[in-house]
Amino acid sequence: MNMKQRYHPSQILLHAVIGLLIVLTFAFGKYVAGLPLSPAKFQLISYHKWGGMLVLLLVVLRIVLRLLKGAPPLPATMSPLARLAAHAAHLALYVLMLAVPLSGWLMSSAYGFPVVLFGVLPLPDLIAANPALAEQLGEVHELLNRLLLITVILHVLAALKHHFIDRDGLLQRMSLRR
């Protein structure tokens, strides 16, 4: 396989880092949401927000790289329907990877809690404090997360199908191994 059939190494690295961050941030968020108020909750919420903002930043970088470097072609054996599904799922992932952290940021602003990255870099409030809107944004954040979870599961299942059933070498597009 030549290099044109792989993503650029920077894209491959970002895929791994963002994937890991999403899993960690998702798990933190899920855990924290059910905790009673405590100093530990304040800390974990901060970590969750930092993780989300980092994902947002890296996804923007990744979209820029995607536009600059493009993507390697899909295996010729894939049916038009499978190609359509792949493109739709990837588009959904990009949209959700932007929408989930943005909805969290909006929600934090609406609650009157600014986001301060790593405890030192204050980010601007996206909207003014509004408790009723904050509650609604909380539900939007949760809904978007469910959609992201479903899409990620489909993404992983599709990758496993390509690797173990189709055996078409698709995963090598996202691998640094030769």
Partner: protein, 180 residues
């Protein structure tokens, strides 16, 4: 105690200076920091007896009672937590009170008020600079001061860790007082 009596005496002895505080325009706002994140809240209900004439600042006095149950924070969780024993313990300490002992002119429209703040049953001397600005027929008294929350045992137990919630809380006050 003497200062308290003097200021109370001043209030009684000089009804000429007794002024009305416009509670609708006045506010008590505070900002704390948790994990470096500034979080603001306020006390919605308070009563203030303020006697202040910029020309005779030394004769002025202030007696402010704050309804601790009127605390307002960004979330319902935080509002409930703030009333609990570790924080303001509003069941036992429903009121906080500030009674001035002296007001000194600092030049221009700036002044310094000193007095005693009683919060959660603990009384401490405080001093804060403020400005007095004419607003039509009223005077707006604006000031701020940093307060150590731990000095008043605000946030006990696990909350006393200042790595999560900082010790210093910035208090800002605005009292709009009608001119005599």
């Amino acid at each position: 105690m003497k200062a308290l009596l003097i200021s109370a005496g001043l209030l009684l002895a000089s009804p000429v200076f007794a002024q009305n505080v416009d509670l609708g325009k006045s506010q008590l706002v505070f900002t704390m920091k948790q994990m470096g994140v500034p979080v603001s809240g306020s006390f919605k209900k308070f009563a203030a007896k303020v006697s202040f004439d910029p020309a005779k600042a030394e004769q002025g006095s202030a007696d402010i009672s704050i309804d601790m149950n009127s605390i307002s924070l960004p979330t319902a969780d935080a509002n409930a937590e703030a009333r609990k024993k570790d924080w303001f313990n509003t069941a036992q300490f429903a009121q906080a009170r500030f009674v001035s002992s002296s007001i000194k002119p600092l030049g221009g429209n700036r002044y310094q008020v000193s007095g005693k703040l009683t919060l959660k049953g603990i009384t401490r001397e405080l001093s804060a600079p403020f400005t007095a600005t004419a607003q039509g027929k009223a005077v707006s008294i604006d000031g701020s001061l940093p307060i150590s929350r731990l000095a008043f045992r605000i946030g006990e137990g696990s909350w006393s860790d200042t790595g999560t919630v900082a010790d210093t809380v910035d208090l800002r006050f605005r009292l709009v007082v009608a001119n005599p």
